[in-house]
Symmetry: C2
Subunit: 255 residues, 2 copies
Amino acid sequence: MQTLQFTAESSSDGMIERDFTLGDVPGVLWSPASGAGRAPLVLMGHGGGTHKKHPAMAGRAQRLVTGCGFHVAVIDAPGHGDRPRTAYDEQEIAELRRAQAAGEPERQIVVRYNARLAELAVPEWQATLDALQELPEIGADGPVGYVGIGLGTAIGVPLVAIEARITAAVFVCTWPDVLLEKAQRITVPIEFDLQWDDERISREAGLALFDAFASKEKTMHANAGRHMELPRFEADSATRFFARHLGRTTVTSPA
Amino acid sequence: MQTLQFTAESSSDGMIERDFTLGDVPGVLWSPASGAGRAPLVLMGHGGGTHKKHPAMAGRAQRLVTGCGFHVAVIDAPGHGDRPRTAYDEQEIAELRRAQAAGEPERQIVVRYNARLAELAVPEWQATLDALQELPEIGADGPVGYVGIGLGTAIGVPLVAIEARITAAVFVCTWPDVLLEKAQRITVPIEFDLQWDDERISREAGLALFDAFASKEKTMHANAGRHMELPRFEADSATRFFARHLGRTTVTSPA
């Protein structure tokens, strides 16, 4: 088994930030500055074109770490953040930019590229989880959650479908196409965020993905607004969702 | 203008309960035992076949009063609770029971009966709000919210559509039929609860009602489960929604 190598450490706002590498995969682990005891772990998958420390990741981590005392880990997806792009990455990204500039449909390109990234990223996440659970402050028996945004959902749905250690997940909507069959194997509690006026992912597509989860407890939060307008209070809601399901009983909400 | 007559008062768990009548309409006003200052008001409309002090009302009131320091008022709908049934009520209820026992569709009967009750109840609510705003602990300028469940939504949608004093509303799904046109006039923030596996109200019908609200800020919470299985955490979510919109900034959630 590969071992996590910590490469940098800093601290602010009650949160310790440790950069790490696992083989050639770079990641970040955020932890409570105060706590020494074991605490639940939340894995987060960033959106396409962003990276492990994007504000959408760091902001959610802050809530989970200082609000609930959890650990939060994010790794860069293949071709993202501090990882090199392959010729294939460059080719798909150029194709996507061309389609977007021409006002042509992007769905087929994004679905294909994300599916390829997920094939690579799922085993990376499993190795990362193995290594994180070796840390005494996390441990092998603690509860594990997953949050995915866009690409992070395209990676997270196949990951959660096969990874029994993950017991609760929050997914922000992406195209359902290749994910439907994997979603049908997921039975853990799910919170699913969909933008009601999403100009990129059709309402029917989003509803179909939510419908596919086999989970007995699943909740969709559909908000008025476009693709990039997910309200901030949904990050608070996700925090409460994990507080409920990963074993902490009280959280103060900045409502 | 009619004046509110208080007829009984009791106190428990940090909440003062005052029964009142306004003309021949009986109601209840729950208030914080501790607070003397002005506080926002939430009106709540109970479900069909229930009454103003049904646990679904009292439980939500407890969260709003002790969690946020708000006042909460519920009145019995026509033919419900402490109010007499007319011959028309008896006839519609008998017709509904007959259809349900025979396994026949209930939609047409419920929609028709609820629409008639809403015609009566909307002016009753407006008179109640007039009278409540005469109380010094509520006042004429304070923020006002509305919560409706089932029949309470069938009454609440036309009420909120015409009542500018109500600035935020939570609706638990009911049939959209006669409500669509009223919902299109509503622009205040909305939280809308829908049961994804509702055996009485079809998914398409529920989605159509959510879609109809003209509100720039609207959120649908769709939960796996049948008509009567709305999760309790949605009552907590509604409390946070009002804390956000009626002007209190922090609420501790029993997540």
